[in-house]
Amino acid sequence: MRVRAFLRGLIPFLLIIVLSLPILVGYLWILISTFAQRTYGLLPMDADGRLGGITLKNWVLLFQDPRIWTLTLNTLFLALGLTLGVLLVSSLAAYPLSRIKFPGRKGFLSLTLILHAFPSVTLLIAIFFVLRWIAKIPILGKGIPLIGGFGYNTIGGVTLVSIALQLPLGIWLMKGFFDTISWDIERAALIDGCSRFRTWRQILLPQIKPGLAALGIFSFIQGWSSFLIPYTFIVESRSAVISTYLNFLTSENRPINYGLVAALGLYQLLPILIFYVFTQKYLLQIFSGGMKGGA
């Protein structure tokens, strides 16, 4: 009987292993490729097709490229900008949506939900025109150092668009977290002498920290690995991010250096993996639907 129970317990694990095998093999290939001259299947090969050929050449090549630091910095600006922007706007917007009755509140909420379900690809052309228009604004358009500005072909512009597309999810998530906090705590704060804003900042925000952490991590990962938006709205390589550069490397007209592509891929993957290991318990909050408020 105990053996049978053990075997039955094994089934889900087996299923998971089988289903994730293709992905795991893919990651394994990337890892091996970065350290090999070339690969045959999962086996590292040297230039003559013999087993071996372990090398650091790909990594050296990657870091010799002066563009890599610009790319990293750009990607970091995009990811951090997206994280901060989404956290700030959605936590501010979700508070009144959760707490204050005002005309249009229901409509606004359902509209955000629809926007969340809306495929962002369909908006690309419209966004293009908006960004082109923003680019015409002096300084704000394309005259800001580091992020370029908020117009077309700038990191700032791409960040702005990413924030906007991420907001529906963020607002709904934050509203869910605010909803779990009891009204009494807020009333107690108001009676203790807080303004509405101070209640939001000093009493409510600390209580939804797990939610903020979850949304922040989620947004960072999204920003770090986003491709479609930067690919569409950035044409200059000066403002490229890692993902678009990766695409550029694989679509060049010369022979593709798969070792270099794999190295860049792993380089892009590493921060997320490390980040994820330390923060996965917060990320799970998103899917388990918030924590219980109050003491």
Partner: protein, 358 residues
Amino acid sequence: MKVELANLSKKFGNVTAVDDVNLDIRDGEFVAFLGPSGCGKTTTLLMIAGIYRPSAGDIFFDGARVNELQPKDRDIGMVFQSYALYPHMSVFQNMVFSLILKKRPKQELQREAQRVAKMLGIVELLERRPGQLSGGQQQRVALARALIKQPRLLLFDEPLSNLDARLRVSMRGEIKKLQGDLGITSIYVTHDQIEAMTMADRIAVIKDGRLQAYLQPEELHDRPRTLFIAQFIGNPPMNIFTVELKSAEGGLWTELGGGVALAIPAERRPRDGKKTVKMGIRPQDIHASASGDIGAEVSLVEPMGRDDLVFCKVGGMDIQFLEDPALKLKRGASVRLSFDMGKSQFFDPQTERSLLWE
């Protein structure tokens, strides 16, 4: 501080939560708002606190209209049913939060926290987080947080409802004593009539948003102004029958089912000369005795320790009364009951107002 509510109303959309309440609270008085859940008592309290704005009517503190005054400027302390402590702050930080917002000096925070913590016996809890405290301890902290401001008005919103029965009884006495010692005007919202009866100087009974009566506890118990109050106040609840009144032999009689007539004493004669009325009599005013006028069969006995609560049927009507357990009444036994008609109550069946008391 004196509090006065004048024609106070609150509407949420089309629903009237509080309907034209008039009430005055004397300085230092302990007043209970009593009523079933959803009757508008907490809404009234939140209007006094400044959380809700009245739809109509006014609130006066010491004669000054405070309708538009922000909660923080009303000089009030409030204790909530859910305790509503700030979970990310220690007990000490919870207590002094309001003083910090008032930018009081550090030494004063320490001194005041110690003073109030001593008063409530929570000195050793000051460094803990609310999550590490029991319900009773949390409620003490909540009380301390309300008291540290030295408010002129204390508001309690069912503060003991989440505590277990024994703790509730001891906290009841403690709050009452503390309130008496400090002399702070207090409003205490509860649905528990025992809490209201034991603690309050005066009780405002609220039903469906309307003030039913605003009286001292004994008055409310002995001279209920409405049928609702008669049934709501007192434990076990009052027996209510629909009876016919008859004049005979120079006196007034009630026809109870089964052909039994009971004489109504002169001082309990209902006004208005209605024929059909509702008669109420408390379970402790009915006794089983050999000389009783009414025959009944016991259908259920609930031992309550000091008394047995006995349920029986008389002519299709259910009657409950309290009896000495020494009588050892059992289910199915036949008893004869006598009513102490000097304690009877009469109500108009339509308006449900008392026919004895104004």
